[in-house]
Structures are given as C-alpha cells and as structure tokens.
C-alpha cells in the first residue's frame, strides 16, 4: 500500500477510493455510534425515557397552545385530535432537529480525534445521523401506541415510511456536511443554529396543517424536504390523506443536491480542519 500525501487545493471530489476507505473504517463508525448511544444516557435517572420526553412535552405544550388556545383544531379540517396531529409531525421533526444540531457541532466536539489521528473525517458528522435513529425509533413506538389508543389505524401507505425516513436522514446529513465544515472554522454557525432550527420548525407543517398552503404552491413548498417528510408521515400513519408525492419528489431533489454539494464542500475543506481549530 502506497500513500501519497500532497498539498490539496480547490474542489475535491468523492472518488471510488474515498468510498472504499470509508467502508474500511465502518467498524469505527459502528463504535462511534455505539459510544454515542451508550454514553448519552449514562448517569441519568430516566435513561432512554428522555428520548420520549422531548417530543411528548412539546406535544403537550402544542396541544395546549395551538389545540386549545388558538384552536388550530378547526383548521385541520378533520376529526384527528390535535395531539395526534402534532405528535405525528414531532417524531420525525425531533429526529431532524436533534440530528442536525449534534451533527453540526460534531467536528467542534470531536477535535481531539481528528487532530490526533487520521481517519475519513466524514465519519464524524455521519455518526449522529445514525445514532439519533434510536431515539427516533423509541419515539416512533410511542407514536404507534398513541395511535392505537385513539383507535387510529394506519393504512397501506405505511409501506412508504422507510422512504420518508431516508429523505429525512439525507436532508439532515446534507445540511450537516455543510454546516459542520463551516462551523469548525466559523463558530458563528453555532450561534446561528440556535434560531435557525426554530425557523426551520415554523417553516415546516409541524404545528399547522398543510391545508394552509394553497394546492398550487405545494410542489414548490415541497422543495423544503421536511415538509414532504411530515406530510408523508401524516398520510401514512393517520391515513386520511393521500401520499403527497409531488412534495416528496421535490424534497428528494433538494436533499440530493444538499448531499452532493455537502460532500463536495466537506471534502474540499477537510484538509484544513486540523489547522483551523
């Protein structure tokens, strides 16, 4: 095996060799994911219950404010309780927000790794994208229990759910590749993220129904991938609407562009990570 180390300038593409190298280090990815999961709830009283609390508490707050005070219920247009309506959206949303946030900060938080040893840097932002799936799975089970309790039975569209999970992971990863690589040199990103995540949430149909967006604009709105993910979750689990394929399709276009450019940007910046921390 011959390694050549040369200065690197300009754009760097993700080659077959890079992919092979990433595969070589897959055990490291497993270990990092395992570590994140097992460390997260160590020395806490409630342990994995925390994975449920966050979306659950948000649901209670939203149900009280938007369901009762604002009476968003009437806008939903169906008889689905607001609690179910919002929790169905909060489960994928919480995953997205948490994964994006921890992946964006992942390079800063793991400096001690990449300033001391070589491995494909991309493993670091990928780790939270995978590890946060566990929290998502736990919250998802609670969601199923809740649907059952309210007597709501998902219809056949539930088979498309993995596609929506893929879309939400791609979006989180694409954005994180950009943001983590930026954040390591410009710490402004961490400040920016605090309100950016909120902005993204209000922009997604988490607390409000998609019916507020006129039919003609839905496709354009769908370029915000989380809109399609959330509406897709509602369609497949509550089963009162058809799968919004136009929005999901648009979302995949955005997510793919985010992924490709994110990988490009990350690869072009990773050679200076150790120099700019």
């Amino acid at each position: 095996m011959i390694t050549k180390i040369n200065p690197r300038k300009g754009w760097h593409f993700f080659t077959v060799e890079d992919f092979k190298e990433l595969l070589q280090y897959k055990d490291l990815l497993y270990m990092l994911v395992g570590r994140e999961i097992s460390v997260l709830y160590k020395q806490t009283v409630f342990g994995f219950a925390w994975a449920i609390f966050r979306p659950l508490v948000q649901m209670v707050i939203f149900t009280f404010i938007f369901g009762k005070l604002v009476n968003m219920q009437s806008m939903i247009g169906t008889d689905v309780p607001y609690a179910v309506f919002s929790f169905t959206a909060l489960v994928p949303w919480t995953y997205f927000a948490v994964a994006l946030n921890s992946s964006t900060g992942s390079l800063i938080g793991n400096q001690q790794f990449f300033t001391k040893v070589y491995f494909p840097r991309m493993i670091i932002p990928i780790t939270p994208i995978i590890s946060k799936l566990l929290d998502f799975a736990i919250a998802f089970i609670i969601l199923l229990v809740m649907l059952f309790a309210y007597g709501i039975v998902p219809n056949y569209q539930i088979v498309f759910l993995p596609l929506l999970v893929l879309l939400m992971m791609m979006t989180a990863l694409g954005m994180s590749l950009w943001l983590s690589a930026l954040a390591i040199q410009y710490r402004d990103v961490s400040q920016f993220m605090q309100f950016f995540a909120q902005l993204l949430m209000y922009a997604a149909p988490v607390i409000w129904p998609i019916t507020l967006v006129p039919q003609g604009y839905r496709f354009v709105y769908g370029f915000y991938p989380m809109a399609g993910v959330i509406e897709g979750f509602r369609a497949s689990l509550i089963g009162q609407s058809a799968m919004p394929w136009d929005m999901i399709g648009a979302g995949f276009i955005t997510a793919t562009i985010l992924m490709i450019t994110g990988v490009l940007y990350f690869r072009s910046r990773e050679n200076v990570f150790a120099d700019v921390v």
Binding site: M1, I2, K4, I5, M31
Partner: protein, 424 residues
C-alpha cells in the same frame, strides 16, 4: 511483501499566527472598528486556511523545505527544541494535516501515536475503550477480538476491565491506552513523546515492546525530548530547527550536536576583551566555566547527576578598594530557583579575581540550568548583576536495571540511608 519506506520531499507547511489587535482610544474609533469588525474577523478566520500573502508577518513556516528518507527497519529519531517543527512533521506524516507544498510518499501501513488513548471516553468501560481506541487507530473489530486478551494482559488492568475508565487511576488509563497501541501491527510506526507518561516499570515494558517492533524489521519514527530514550532506540537521527532539517546522521553524532546547541552560550564562556564581556563600569566578567569533576572543562561533555561540578567565575574589578562578595543563583531552564550560594565578603582591589563554587555530586537533579551572578558591595548593595552568566545541562546517570523515568524533585541528593531487619 514489498519494501516499506517513507520519502519526504521538499516538505513545507505554513500556519497563521495571531496578530495583536489595534487598540482604539476614542469612542468614534471604537465604534468604527466595531462596525468593521465582522469583515476583519471574516478575513482573519478565512486566513487560517488561505495563504495568498505568504510574506505576511502573521504567516509562520512551521516546516520549510524538509527532505529525508527512512528505509525499512530503520528507527529514526527526530530531535529538536519545542517549536522546531517536530510535531508538525509528525502531523503531516500521519495525514492529520496536509502540507502547503512538497510531498510525502509512504509505502506500508502506518499507525501514528501522537497521543495515548485517543477516543477514550471516561463513561465507557475499559473493554469498550479498547475497541473504541483500536478502531480509531485503524484496526477492525475482528483484529481487536483476536488480540483482546493479549492487550488486557499487557496493560495489567484485568480486574477492572468492565469498570468505567473514569474510575481508573491516570496511570491505569495510560497503561491501557498504550497496550492497545502496542498491539497494532503496523509496518510503520510514528510515535510522539508518549513515553513521558506512566511509571518506570511500564515505561520499561513499552520500550521493550518498541524495540521488538523495530527488530521485526518495522520502521519507526520516534520523537522525544528524552535523549536516553532516543539513544537507546534509534539507529539514525534528524535534528530540526526553526522548521528546517539541520542535521541528518548517526544517533550519537546528532544528539551531541543537539545538546551542544541547546545551551545558549554553553557551559564555557571566555571573553577575550572586556568590551565584549557582560558587566558594567565596575565589574566585567572574564570567564565563566563549569568544570566536570573539578578539573575538566565541561564544554562538549555530558554532565551527569553523579558528577561533582565546579563553577568558576573570573572577573575584572575596576573600582579600587571595595568590600564585595559574589552571590550565585542557580535557576532551572523554567526559571525555578534551586539555590542561592554566597561567597565570603572581602576587600578587593582593581584587577582580575576568581571565585569558585564547588557543587557536590548527587545534588542537582537532571535539568537544564543557568546561573545568575550578583556582585554585592558591603553586603547590601548590588553593584552588578550578570544574568545567565553560564548555562549547562545535567543528565541522568545511566542507571543499571532501573529504567529512566523522570526523577522528581528540585534536587536529587543522596543521603545516608539505612534499611535493615529489626526483628522477626
């Protein structure tokens, strides 16, 4: 298996240094600066990775045009002062950072150990950390499975292997971490100052392990400030200074050169003409010499902790008829004062005078020292102070059987001790 080697060709690396911020003394200036700050900050942050203006004062050449080769089975020592570029070189060789220009070609699987225990997490058990640390160093889980028992046995923490690492003593953590690293099977190993940690017994085992590695025909690059470790391990050395490679040769040759360069001015200073000599109108130094075992000037010789030393200072006195004495302050290179010795106070006339200080063997610990000399009139007034009149390094004496862990303490006296059986 094809031959392993490292080829470093005209390697350079630039870093950006921090530059002092301008101060503003008016409100207007401060407001203006605050408005411009984001643009300035942006350029500054961008500049961390962008070097269009290479002649800028804030650009540092951490490495400049370094070329060398390491062949299979060689153990190359890299010596040099702090900031000479050793760590930068290792970072480039380990692919942590990329060169600004030049190239490196490495044939063989490399493992670099710039730190022990990378990836250790305090909440995880010893077992989990072995896997974590091993995979981050490039092992697969299968490889670790295979060597797990060996690693645990070498570290000597069997009993605590399922205890979180945060309950370990720091020594145990280091032992565990080094064990993982020692059981990697790289063809090329790059090691930075990792032996500075751990107790003497463990260091000895590590050194033994590293010797094994090199005897199996593997290539090792070793950076250390510990000259004895370099001497006993390396077959060849390079010396770095201000980012450049200044010497490449046999271990003894390079180490001796390095030690002689390390002391600014050295342990023997003679001033031919008073105008060049340190001092003032009343006192001028003529010579300052550290003798080894009372008669040999130590210049070019290694001083050991068990050598008796004599400090000799000759000076010209220009003021007639003063009552004076000399006060000697011995500082370590870090500026700690070890002791202050004074001579008798006596009337001295004009002319050349000499003072000698005899330092018994087994007093000074191994360290780099410099001497400040105070000339005192009438036991109260300093008429002349000569800082760093002479400097020297005391080395650890080669110890039989024991290994060379750093002996702690400001001094290292050898007092009378007894140790005997008292009763059954």
């Amino acid at each position: 298996m094809s031959e392993t080697y490292i080829k470093v060709d005209h390697l350079s690396k630039l870093y950006r240094l921090g530059v002092a911020e301008a101060m503003h003394d008016s409100l207007g200036g401060a407001i203006g600066a605050a408005l411009k700050a984001p643009f300035k900050n942006f350029r500054k942050l961008q500049g961390l990775s962008d070097f269009k203006d290479k002649d800028d004062e804030s650009v540092l050449w951490a490495l400049r045009d370094v070329s060398f080769e390491v062949r299979e089975g060689e153990v190359l020592g890299v010596v040099g002062k702090n900031g000479a570029g050793k760590s930068t070189l290792l970072k480039l060789l380990s692919r942590i950072s990329l060169p600004s220009s030049g190239s490196i070609e490495i044939s063989g699987r490399v493992v670099s150990l710039l730190e022990v225990g990378t990836g250790f997490h305090k909440e995880l058990s010893g077992r989990e950390n072995i896997y974590m640390n091993g995979t981050i160093l490039g092992m697969t889980r299968k490889e670790i499975d295979r060597k797990f028992d060996e690693i645990v046995a070498f570290s000597g923490v069997e009993r605590f292997i399922d205890t979180p690492v945060k309950r370990y003593s720091s020594g145990m953590q280091v032992r565990l971490a080094f064990s993982v690293a020692a059981h990697l099977e790289p063809e090329i190993m790059i090691i930075d100052e990792v032996l500075a940690v751990g107790d003497a017994d463990f260091q000895k085992r590590c050194l033994g392990k590293m010797k094994d590695v090199s005897q199996q025909g593997r290539t090792v690059l070793f950076v250390s400030h510990n000259m004895q470790a370099v001497q006993s391990l390396c077959t060849r050395c390079i010396m770095m200074e201000n980012g450049r490679l200044v010497m490449d040769g046999g271990t003894d040759e390079v180490i001796n050169y390095y030690l002689s360069k390390q002391m600014t001015g050295g342990s023997m200073r003679v001033y031919e003409t008073p105008t060049d000599a340190p001092g003032n109108q009343q006192i001028r130094l003529q010579r300052a010499i550290v003798y080894k075992n009372s008669s040999t000037p130590s210049d070019g010789q290694l001083l050991y902790v068990n050598d008796e030393l004599v400090f000799e200072f000759a000076f010209w006195n220009y003021s007639p008829g003063v009552h004076a004495n000399l006060s000697l302050v011995l500082n370590t290179v870090k500026g700690e004062v070890i002791f202050n010795v004074v001579t008798d106070d006596k009337p001295i006339g004009e002319g050349l005078h000499v003072a000698r200080f005899q330092i018994p063997a087994n007093l000074l610990n191994d360290n780099v020292y410099s001497i400040d000399l105070y000339f005192i009139k009438n036991l109260k007034e300093t008429i002349c102070l000569i800082e760093n009149a002479v400097s020297f390094e005391v080395h650890d004496a080669p110890r039989e059987k024991a290994w060379y862990g750093k002996w702690i303490g400001a001094v290292r006296p050898k007092f009378e001790t007894t140790f005997e059986k008292e009763s059954d």
